[in-house]
């Protein structure tokens, strides 16, 4: 289909609210008017845009807008508007516009109102996106977005615990349902072979016959039933009433909870018509209908009453959908519309009462009729529509419901008889709670002791209620002439040829449904009169089922899942000791490697190793001896082990030099230096000895454990060596290295291939790696900031105590003089070396593109310069003189690297494309200049920042540790700490 004018409107309809949400988010906190104006304008524009599309959908057409998303997977972003989607989109936008107007007057100027409108708009956008989705996955995505934004809206007043809990509960339930829905649509897509809604709806027969039908059905229904607050997932809705009333009016009348109903109606052609559908949907519907209506009667909070009534009405709609009859679908869609109008107006009326009196408690309210006569009349009409009084819209859909209940297509006689009885009962309950709402709030003696003196609200605040109530009346009197065509369009787009005959008449003659209505009305009034005494007592909760508190069950489950289970698992599977963790990791790694070898085999390579050079073999013998010695000494002589480890590292470095890999050798050398120093600093904080508080075990166990560990170590080590050997003795058919060697200069502009690979060919990898390095440094920093060393390593080292004691004993000495005097010569020379090492770092950085060097090595060199100063001068001395801001270095480094990559876009090239040229400098002559150098500078800065951040985290540990030790030793409060050493971002 060619994209006509209305087709192109669809992305606008969905995108506009999101765009406006972002704009509203940037408005100043008190821009109440501007935000409301923006939101209102967007909602009105949306209504107009949707209205423009009406002629197309009324003629049976479908508006389509497609955008390629992942064409390789056959996934497109599809917006699709048929009659049904049109109806719901119109409802969302129109009621949204009214809600915005209402909220403008409802929200207090003290609240950050732009945030409210921003969330509201985003919610409107996600809801519209959901109903217009033409692709299953996209639908699930927008579905989860509605959950997310409803969470934000419900939790808008996040300073109250009620709002936080309600929001969290709503999110947990609806988002979990959303995940089920996602799984469900994946199964559905698998059955159909496509995620396009059109194709899914067209293959109903195939889906229902498929063995996976039940799986898909249950998963999708879990999504729909949680969202529409159907029993047993209904409990989140009443708690969501902690939201501002406009949110409740919007979410729980026209939008969020209707999403589940929408989904069930949407998938009707694909999923409905089976026994399973009838039992699941029908049972959930009828249970919710009755329980919701019953509990609603006993609510004392106006909004709570409306919440349970909403649950009950949603149950009614669900039951209608579950009846597997086409007319039932008509009634369901019709009732969904009617419910949206009267429930929104009732919520708004409740909000007006709350706003003007300061309370929503029916027990405290009474006689408001005399203070706000106009609002009272509006609420009465809306409540009458909810109760199903004739000549109002609620009556029409309720009568259709009764007619359908009588015709329920089931073989079970009992059920056949029970459904009409249940329908009448629930209907009577709804009359009762409607009466309670009106009578409790508006009639009776004058209210006493209200927080505010009630009066009529501003007329613009009442305006949306007036519109909606007017709609209730007009639809109720002239249904066929008003909503008839729209309803017809919607139903036709779902059912197509199968659209049944139905009549939207007020008067059907003296029929059975009318009789049922009359019985329900009379029964409801009688029940209300009978319950007067009980209600006046003001007891909380509904009788009989008070103990059935779904919320408690939910809370217990959450506590179990998020706390008890986690604790238990941690207790059973976790360990705080390093050895078991390492053992586990090694075992898993060895096992993974062995599995791979077992599956694919480890045949001999196609290269033959050269005979070993005796000199290198000697060096390696030293290295191996040192490595084994390090393992040997690791437990009780950590310092010795560290030194031996350093030698092993140096041997690796020599090996790289031997095989002409100066880049690797340089890097290895510096990494070795920095890690050794950092480990050395960390040694100070390791506990002296791990004391096990149980009697020494028999020698056999110890020996067995040692042998096991040895076996694991040998297997892992030998396996690693074997793997390395296997890789190095074979040449892949097409050597990537050849490609790099050939193109390093022509395309990367550098003769140092290693560096060109790092900053150009594999620049994106490097960007990722430096990001990871930054994350690691931040993590180390964060961990060390809260690190409390073991008790036995907290006090000052012996030597330092001695020095301080000596300084204290000799009046000529000042604090710390001994140590500074003791290290006079080394510290002097080291300070002189500081600039020299920096020059070397810069030298390595600049020549990196053509000769061994580069940003990483240069960064490490510079970090070594800083580390030396810290070591020799002490943390305080150095930080009094030099401001090191590692976070800034890291941030700037990452920015430079990314900007260099982004700059390629300016020239229309892909991300991280490098450019090189030669520059004529007056003194140096021709200098090669590649944009990769800037990338390398970014790497350089980040490496400096990351290395020094870890160092400083360790160094500050010792400063802080000493303070603690001093304080505890002297038994007096800590002396006022010196100005915390400058470290950008700390605290």
């Amino acid at each position: 289909m060619p994209q006509t004018m209305p087709d192109a409107l669809l992305p606008l309809v969905v995108g506009l609210p999101f765009a406006a949400a972002i704009v509203a988010g940037f408005l100043s906190t008190h821009a109440r008017g501007a935000a409301a104006l923006l939101a209102g304008a967007v909602a009105v524009v949306d209504v107009v845009l949707i209205w423009v599309a009406y002629p197309t959908v009324a003629g049976g057409g479908v508006l389509l807008f497609e955008l390629e998303w992942m064409p390789a997977l056959g996934l497109n972003f599809v917006l699709r508007m048929d009659g049904f989607a049109w109806l719901f989109a119109g409802l969302v936008a129109a009621i949204g516009a009214l809600i915005v107007l209402y909220a403008r007057y409802y929200m207090s100027p003290e609240d950050p109102v732009p945030r409210f409108f921003s969330f509201l708009l985003a919610f409107m956008g996600s809801m519209t996106g959901m109903v217009l989705s033409g692709n299953l996955i996209q639908l699930a995505f927008f579905w989860e977005l509605t959950s997310l934004f409803s969470f934000l809206l419900i939790g808008y007043w996040y300073h109250t615990a009620q709002a936080r809990d309600g929001a969290r509960m709503a999110l947990t339930v609806t988002a979990a349902g959303g995940l089920c829905l996602f799984a469900g649509v994946l199964v559905l897509g698998h059955i159909v072979g496509s995620y396009e809604l059109d194709r899914v709806l067209a293959s109903g027969e195939h889906i229902r016959a498929h063995p996976l039908y039940l799986t898909a059905l249950i998963l999708i229904l879990l999504g729909a039933l949680t969202k529409s607050a159907q029993f047993p997932f209904h409990f989140w809705l009443p708690h969501a009433m902690a939201a501002p009333t406009p949110v409740s009016a919007y979410l729980h009348s026209a939008t969020l909870v209707k999403a589940g109903v929408f989904l069930m109606a949407r998938f009707w052609p694909a999923l409905a018509g089976t026994e399973a559908w009838f039992w699941i949907v029908g049972t959930a519907g009828v249970t919710t209908l009755l329980i919701g209506a019953y509990v609603a009667i006993f609510q004392h909070d106006l909004k709570g009453l409306l919440a349970y009534s909403t649950i009950s009405h949603l149950g009614l709609i669900t039951l209608l959908l579950g009846l597997n009859s086409e007319v039932g679908l008509v009634a369901a869609v019709f009732h969904a519309m009617n419910h949206a109008t009267f429930k929104a107006s009732l919520f708004m009326a409740a909000g007006i009462i709350d706003h003007e009196t300061g309370t929503r408690d029916i027990r405290r309210l009474s006689g408001l009729h005399r203070f706000m006569p106009f609002t009272a009349r509006l609420a009465m009409v809306a409540a009458a529509a909810m109760a199903g009084v004739p000549l109002l819209n609620g009556f029409l859909s309720k009568e259709m419901f009764f007619a359908e209940a009588l015709r329920a297509p089931t073989s079970h006689l009992l059920i056949h008889d029970l459904i009409p009885v249940g329908a009448v009962l629930a209907s009577a309950f709804s009359v009762t709670y409607s009466l309670r709402f009106i009578h409790g709030a508006f009639f009776g003696p004058d209210p006493v002791d209200l927080p505010r003196v009630p009066r009529e609200p501003p007329s613009w605040m009442r305006f949306p209620v007036e519109i909606l109530v007017l709609a209730c009346i007009i639809v109720g009197i002239l249904p066929a002439a008003t909503v008839g065509p729209f309803l017809d369009t919607a139903i036709r787009s779902i059912l197509g040829e199968a659209t049944p005959q139905y009549s939207l008449e007020v008067w059907h003659g003296l029929s059975q449904p009318l009789l049922m209505s009359v019985v329900a009305l009379i029964g409801g009034v009688a029940l209300y009169l009978a319950l007067q005494r009980h209600l006046l007592k003001g007891v909380e909760g509904a009788p009989l089922i008070r103990r059935l508190d779904a919320r408690r069950i939910f809370d217990r489950t959450m506590v179990f899942l998020s706390w008890r289970l986690a604790r238990t698992l941690e207790g059973v599977l976790g360990t705080r000791r390093l050895q078991p963790q390492l053992r586990l990791m090694l075992c898993v790694a060895a096992l993974a490697g062995l599995c791979a070898v077992y599956v694919r085999g480890l045949g001999p390579g196609n290269l033959f190793p050269a005979p070993p050079d005796p000199a290198l073999a000697l060096v390696w013998a030293v290295g191996i001896a040192c490595a084994i010695g390090a393992a040997w000494k690791a437990k009780f002589h950590r310092l010795a082990a560290l030194i031996l480890l350093g030698v092993a590292g140096l041997v690796t470095c020599v090996t790289f030099v031997w095989f002409s890999a100066p880049d690797l050798a340089l890097t290895q050398l510096l990494v070795e230096v920095v890690t050794t120093v950092l480990l050395l600093l960390g040694l100070r904080w390791l506990p002296k000895r791990f004391e096990v508080g149980r009697p020494p075990e028999p020698r056999v166990y110890t020996l067995a454990r040692h042998l096991t560990d040895l076996a694991i170590a040998v297997i892992a080590g030998v396996g690693m060596a074997a793997l390395a050997f296997a890789v190095m003795t074979r040449t892949p058919p097409e050597l990537l290295a050849q490609h790099f060697l050939a193109r390093a200069y022509t395309e990367g502009g550098g003769t140092n291939v290693v560096n060109v690979i790092l900053v150009d060919f594999r620049g994106f990898d490097t960007l990722g790696e430096i990001t990871v390095l930054g994350v690691v440094a931040l993590t180390v920093f964060a961990l060390l900031r809260r690190f409390r060393p073991a008790a036995d390593s907290i006090e000052l080292p012996e030597q330092q105590r001695d020095q301080l004691a000596y300084d204290a004993a000799h009046p000529r000495q000042t604090d710390g003089e001994t140590v500074s005097d003791w290290l006079l010569v080394p510290s002097l020379i080291t300070r002189v070396l500081f600039p020299v090492i920096w020059v070397i770092a810069l030298f390595l950085l600049l020549r990196g593109h053509d000769l061994p060097g580069g940003g990483f090595v240069a960064g490490l060199t510079a970090a070594v310069a800083l580390i030396l100063q810290y070591l020799i001068g002490g943390t305080r001395w150095i930080e009094d003189r030099l401001t090191v801001q590692p976070l800034r270095w890291m941030g700037i480094g990452l920015l430079i690297a990314t900007t260099t990559g982004l700059a390629a876009w300016l020239f229309g090239r892909p991300f991280l494309t490098s450019y090189f040229d030669y520059l004529e400098l007056p003194l140096f002559g021709t200098v090669p200049l590649a944009s990769a150098l800037f990338f390398d500078i970014g790497v350089f800065a980040l490496v400096i920042g990351a290395a020094t951040l870890m160092l400083i985290a360790l160094a500050h540990q010792s400063v802080r540790g000493h303070r603690v030790a001093q304080a505890s030793e002297e038994g007096q409060p800590t002396p006022p700490p010196r100005q915390a050493p400058a470290l950008a971002g700390e605290d």
Partner: protein, 118 residues
């Protein structure tokens, strides 16, 4: 254009001189290493490796300068930097070691080291 000659074509005098210097350098370093092993006290042992780090490495560096200068028929003087750094940095390590040892000996009250002033 600088002429580069092959290793095999190096003049005999240069080859002999280079070898001699290398032998002297490595010999001195070896003696230093043996000294480190054999000498009695820590303070004596500290001196032994300095043979290697001063004269020993110096000879090797001169050999290197000579060899590569002849090979590339131009003065190659990078080694001077290495020498400079060796000269500057070796004392730091040795001073640190010696002073740490002295400090410990004094704390432990060993008789053979001079006592603290003041």
């Amino acid at each position: 254009m600088i002429e580069v000659i092959e290793v095999a074509d190096i003049p005999l005098w240069a080859a002999i001189l280079t070898s001699l210097l290398l032998l002297i350098g490595s010999g001195l370093t070896l003696i230093g290493a043996v000294g480190l092993l054999r000498l009695g006290s820590f303070y004596e042992r500290v001196h032994a490796p300095t043979l290697g780090t001063t004269l020993g490495i110096g000879s090797v560096l001169i050999a290197s300068m000579l060899f590569f200068s002849v090979l590339q028929t131009r003065p190659v003087l990078h080694e001077l930097l290495i020498a400079a750094f060796m000269v500057v940095t070796t004392p730091i390590t040795l001073t640190l070691l010696a002073r740490a040892a002295l400090y410990r000996d004094r704390r432990e009250g060993n008789e053979e080291v001079p006592a603290r002033r003041g």
